[in-house]
């Protein structure tokens, strides 16, 4: 009995060691939800780059009032701010792309003898696309995010590893899509999450 659990922990340890030894790898998360509403109605709700009042995790947004490429918005969350740049905007295709250019930190931790800041979202080099597609009268909302973990060297601390990044991004995308579904009157729809790296 003891032997088995020892073996299991050894195997787990080896596996974790291997995973941690890995340098940062870019992840691609695809979150989708299909709601019973016209795509144009859904797009109408989310189309303004400086309006994220539909997202429950975001308290306020400051933008420049445009949907022009290069527009900057600053999101205020419960634990800090995120600055994002609009990279592409396509009103005809109901889609826009943006990337995080700056984040405030929520504190620091000591790791490997260094002070490591904890960003609002524990990710690195984050970019995403939000789009709405018509699926036979229904709307499929797709939010695709690409990012690395926040820690750039090998052997990340738990707060800044892949798991922490995936969890945080899942939370942003899932709660956002659920809120959109609710606002367009399709509250029971479920979000599908797919993570690849």
């Amino acid at each position: 009995m003891k032997k088995t659990s020892l073996l299991v922990s050894t195997v787990l340890f080896l596996f974790t060691g291997l995973a941690n030894a890995h340098g940062p790898v870019r992840a691609k998360m695809t979150a989708t939800i299909t709601v019973d509403a016209p795509a144009a109605k859904v797009w109408d709700l989310i189309k303004n780059y400086d309006d994220m009042s539909w997202h429950p995790g975001i308290k306020s947004v400051k933008g420049d009032g445009t949907n022009n490429k290069g527009a900057i918005r600053v999101l205020t969350l419960a634990n800090g701010t995120i600055t994002e740049e609009l990279k592409a905007y396509d009103a005809a295709k109901f889609s826009y792309k943006y990337k995080i250019t700056d984040m405030s930190s929520t504190g620091t931790i000591k790791h490997a003898g260094q002070d490591e800041p904890l960003p609002v979202l524990p990710v690195g080099n984050y970019a995403a696309e939000l789009s709405v597609n018509d699926k036979g009268g229904k709307a499929e909302i797709e939010w695709v995010a690409t990012y690395y973990r926040a820690y750039v060297n090998n052997n990340p601390p738990a707060e800044l590893n892949e798991e922490a990044a995936d969890k945080a991004v899942t939370n942003v995308l899932k709660s956002g899509l659920e809120a959109i579904a609710k606002k367009v009157g399709s509250g029971s729809a479920a979000v599908e999450i797919d993570i690849k790296r």
């Binding site: 890995h22 691609k28 592409a88 970019a127 696309e129 690409t146 690849k196 790296r197």
Partner: protein, 317 residues
């Protein structure tokens, strides 16, 4: 007389060029799909998709042996494909995380960089027996071989340097500092200049390919990934991952002269043997953009698989 002579030369060149392009295939690694898309560059269609496990990333071609090598960072080695029949021949275990891969110009040896072991391992392309492991800098990534087959160049990403390996001795002759985090590299057809895309400093370093003397640093877009030359080495194309663009650098003036919008997260880049069409793998968009180096326009977009990376020289010459 003279006119006829030139006419003949141009006709021959024309025949030669079209003969080459008919056979040319682009091998695109789809990292998230564990597959390789094979594009017939004449019809501009994907003609085969080959399953390769282990998050395939790097590509190297060996026209002499009609082999294609695909590095698999999570498979700890590389896969060998038959470049003609488009089948899997064998898998070679290297250990660690294999990423950068290239073959010598005669097709006798294949070199595999190991991201964690800080080494380049040399294999015989007949037996796939290990010939030697050469210790290089930290996190070796992009590699290329000089046209005269004398030098192997290796970008040591975390060391911000490039090493020049003497292929007759399989040992390092020289190492020099470049910009921050060099990744993809390319040497010109005369073996005179070497170019590196420096991911963290958003620029390209130009080195004398023999002495490794730094000749210039050229500002490009955000997080440049890889480089490729076209039109008789006169233009250098650079993929800018975070800008979804390709920078075009005039190699005479060493200035960026154009920025071309491609797909999102453009990564691997290679020039067709016609020296005019430049292929770019777009990781986020799961496709390949084809740029005409003469007009500097995207002339086609070809759907591939998820996470198209194609790191290396991926079109058969």
């Amino acid at each position: 007389m003279r006119i006829r002579y030139w006419f003949l030369v141009f006709s021959l060149l024309g025949v030669f060029a079209s003969g080459v392009s008919a056979d040319s295939r682009a091998f695109i690694t789809n990292q998230l799909d564990n597959s390789v898309s094979v594009i017939d560059t004449k019809s501009q269609q994907v003609i085969e998709t080959i399953k390769v496990e282990g998050k395939p990333a790097g590509v190297a071609l060996n026209p002499a042996k009609k082999q294609v090598y695909i590095s698999t960072p999570e498979g700890g080695g590389f896969a060998v494909l038959d470049g003609e029949k488009l089948t899997k021949l064998t898998k070679v275990k290297v250990g660690g995380a294999s990423l950068g891969i290239t073959a010598d110009r005669k097709g006798e040896q294949v070199f595999v960089a190991d991201w964690y072991e800080n080494s380049v391992t040399v294999f015989d392309t007949k037996t796939f027996a290990k010939i030697k492991t050469i210790t290089v800098g930290k996190s070796p990534s992009g590699m290329t071989v000089s046209p005269d087959n004398r030098w192997l160049y290796v970008a040591n990403r975390i060391d911000d340097s490039i090493s020049q390996i003497d292929l007759s001795k399989l040992s390092i002759r020289n190492t020099t500092k470049v910009g921050a985090h060099p990744f993809g590299i390319a040497v010109d057809s005369q073996g005179k200049r070497l170019y590196s895309a420096n991911v963290e400093s958003d620029n390209v370093t130009v080195l004398d390919a023999r002495s490794l003397k730094r000749l210039a640093t050229i500002k490009v877009g955000a997080r440049p990934y890889a480089v490729s030359l076209a039109l008789n080495d006169s233009l250098l194309f650079v993929t800018n991952q975070d800008d979804s663009t390709v920078s075009v650098v005039d190699t005479a003036t060493l200035k960026q002269i154009e920025v071309i919008a491609v797909g999102d997260k453009p990564e691997g880049i290679s020039t067709h043997p016609d020296d005019q069409n430049v292929y770019v793998a777009n990781w986020f968009d799961n496709n390949v953009s084809v740029i005409d180096a003469k007009t500097l326009k995207v002339v086609n977009t070809i759907k591939t698989g998820e996470g198209s990376r194609a790191f290396g020289e991926f079109i058969a010459r």
